[in-house]
Symmetry: C2
Subunit: 276 residues, 2 copies
Amino acid sequence: MTGNAREAGRSTIDRVLTLLEALDQPQLTLTEVATKADLPTSTASRILTALEQWGGVSRGTDGTYEVGYRLWEIGARASKASVLREASRPALAQLSARTGESAQLAVLEGGSALIVECLAGQNASPIATRVGGRLPLHASAAGRVLLSYADADFIAKVLRGNLERLTPYTQIMPGRLAQELVAARRRGAAAVQEEMTLGRSSVAAPVRDRSGTVVAALGVVVTSNADLDRLLPQVRLGARDSERRLADADSQKWVDGHSAITSAPPRMSAQLEPVG
Amino acid sequence: MTGNAREAGRSTIDRVLTLLEALDQPQLTLTEVATKADLPTSTASRILTALEQWGGVSRGTDGTYEVGYRLWEIGARASKASVLREASRPALAQLSARTGESAQLAVLEGGSALIVECLAGQNASPIATRVGGRLPLHASAAGRVLLSYADADFIAKVLRGNLERLTPYTQIMPGRLAQELVAARRRGAAAVQEEMTLGRSSVAAPVRDRSGTVVAALGVVVTSNADLDRLLPQVRLGARDSERRLADADSQKWVDGHSAITSAPPRMSAQLEPVG
């Protein structure tokens, strides 16, 4: 698959989005961005220049590119992510304080679980999990919880897909995984031992919005010798606490007409909230 | 200025970026997005559909649009914003706890000060300031600090521009503002009384990176009868604390080859950090 072969059938919008995806770490050179995005250097350069003028990417003194403040600002307007993060933070803080490990909140996005908030306890490696990171649906507790509440077609597609064996213990047999998903729904939680990383286990429970829809999974990642049965009720309690706060935030949203979660207007004006 | 008149000279990239800007609150209808972006409805619809398929915008059950997780994820890769937020959080927590008011960190982005982190004290209105919100450069303490360290051409452009009178006390005379900027640099802090909002004052100090470049302003927003002279040293101390943590994070960055601040690769693989 060469750049030119793919190039032909792609719209400009696709190219812009592919380039945004390619900016997956700081300090990328033009060549690196073009290679990652599978775009000709000239096309990548043109898009990067437009993005830079807009503030979406910033350029270092060494000429390398990274995601800039303007894109951060746009992303910060994702009200679902902000509301979920706010609602889950007390529960995540309690879980990470009690276990000394990483507590995380993940949502189903594309084909994996996207970590929207993460608090590391004192025993956790500081880079063990990170906001914006992703977990595989089949091999993490959070992923399995999210997958178990997805619609049947999506579940079938994931089970039929490429289930990567990440450790010797990763469950990759579709039938067994399907059983695990049923069990996760019945228990209102999932526990996964060393299926993603040797020496690490995870426990997660679903977080529902006011309509009863599962919108996230809240969990902890611990050493594999931890007592998961003791952790399960704590994780479920944390999920309930997040649900209550989420419902409160939703009520507030209706009262305020979204004012509590929307961002300020992009231009300065007398409509601004009292801030200074 | 009609949609069609502007339409003619715009590239697709410009249209996509303009549409992203238009998504400034949740639950926007197609017509609202098209109007805000000054785009024909058909163009807006086409871009929104592409963005939705990608996950950049999400559509509610009522058919309205808002920024989605995928854009949030891209934004979360803005390493400068993440590092600054992490580095300033302890100082912001201390300032908001001591004053009971909102402490905020802002960066210069475009023609205004972009709030990248904000912690509200118990006396602060919960929506008084918000992450992702913007402050005018001429009428807020954070804005004035950032402006005072900007390059001369930029300062001249702002002083020659439209300085909006937000309250009867807003300083809009270019010569007087220039004096205020000189004073802000000399004092290493700015204090602004009721120039942005009646009844509210703000104090801010610059935050420098290891090279000595001012990268942010850290400040508090308080009631206008507060003792600003007493607040100034606290704000300066908070800025120093943030600088120390920023320098530490920078050192860490070099050691880890950016691993502490980059996001996980977009696809699942065995390269993933140990997370579950």
